[in-house]
Amino acid sequence: MQISMTVNGSEFTSEIEPRVLLVHYIREVLGLTGTHWGCDTSNCGTCVVLMDGQPVKSCTVLAAMAAGHDIRTVEGLATGGTLDPVQQGFMEEHGLQCGFCTPGMMLTARALLDKNPHPDDAEIRQAISGQICRCTGYATIVRSVQWAAAHPAGTGWDGADTAVPDVAPETADTDAEVKA
């Protein structure tokens, strides 16, 4: 069957089998491998993408069901070469270690902040409660989202326009940089 959907602002039309899951459509047909594919059972949340602005587990949505909808993946977070504050927050506060859960976590965080720009820690933990991180123990993820809440886009948090800041955080020592 033929489907069309908007992904990160661009319209895509593809011929697919109805049984193709959204996560595989995004990764294999569109080649956007930033969306990770994990448990297959809507438990781990690494495959979360935004569908019409709401976080959904893309392993449990058919690509056919997403046709006509607006999808945003991690590749669509940065705009015009500037990282989304959530991405910057994950860098500043070391919100990731292995990075596997990170795309889903960041998209859920983006949706949370769009709805509730000043969440408390409990609200952040609630929002990400359908997602699993096996590295950081969540504390740094919560801090990363709080960093993003404190530095909304357009407030000139760094004044720079670079996709990846080339200056390491002041507190980081050389070893930490290598590990990161």
Partner: protein, 296 residues
Amino acid sequence: MQIPASFDYVRASSVDNALELLARYGPESRVVAGGHSLLPMMKLRLARPEWLIDINDLYELDFILRDGNKLRVGALTRHTTLLESDEVAALFPIVRDAERVIADPTVRNRGTIGGSLCQADPAEDLSTVCDVLDAEAVIRGPGGERAVAMSGFHRGPYETAVGQDELLCELRFPIRPRAGSAYEKVERRVGDWATGAAGAAVTLAADGTVEDATVGLTALGLDRTVAEAAAVLRGKRPAEDLFTEAGRLAAAACDPVPDQRGPVDYKRHLADELTRRVLRRACARAAQMAARMQEG
């Protein structure tokens, strides 16, 4: 990699169109809404429909509407919408209690009340909620529309009164004065199925005695409501010793099976303790509502 077996997909454009499609494709077709129960079952080949009829475009089934002394909830209303509705929480606090612990926030963005009820998993929470609130299911089929009481809606695990060529369209909840309700679930982790849960709805008479009470259990091997537990309270003033007795009767009435979530005696203990807690909270909430009515 878990992928469903091949099927054909069609998107319904209206309730009538969905009924036409169900009639056209017959017993090998299934309706999909949120898909968070059906798609996992299709991946495991526990369900293998030849046709999937997607009803997500039927926005006319996504509503919460007060209509006289009933609250009407469309079958396609998402869990998140129910959870966030202040109107629902004010009238039926049990819904917010339950929705908070159904799956996780991301799954709740997709899952629907109609899907949960039609899936009819024995560990599904909203069946108990609808039972104790004495809800009515509005089902449409080729012969028109019919309303079915919850007691007749459940036919057993994964089985409901909704026929193959029919569509659950709406739930209707009676709004009663001086009413309170509550739900509490024990689960091992966020998003897990219930180890056990209980729900209660209570209405008080003008003199503060219990006019009616309903207790239901989830995942504890009891399809019906616990009539014995409710009978203990009727006509009496809410009191701790009555909650204790109701809990004891609920534990005796249920028939849990041992599994990796716990042995039978533990689950009976949950039936007892959770029944007491939800009755205590439902009675307190009913008293609050009665007080608000007097003020107003």
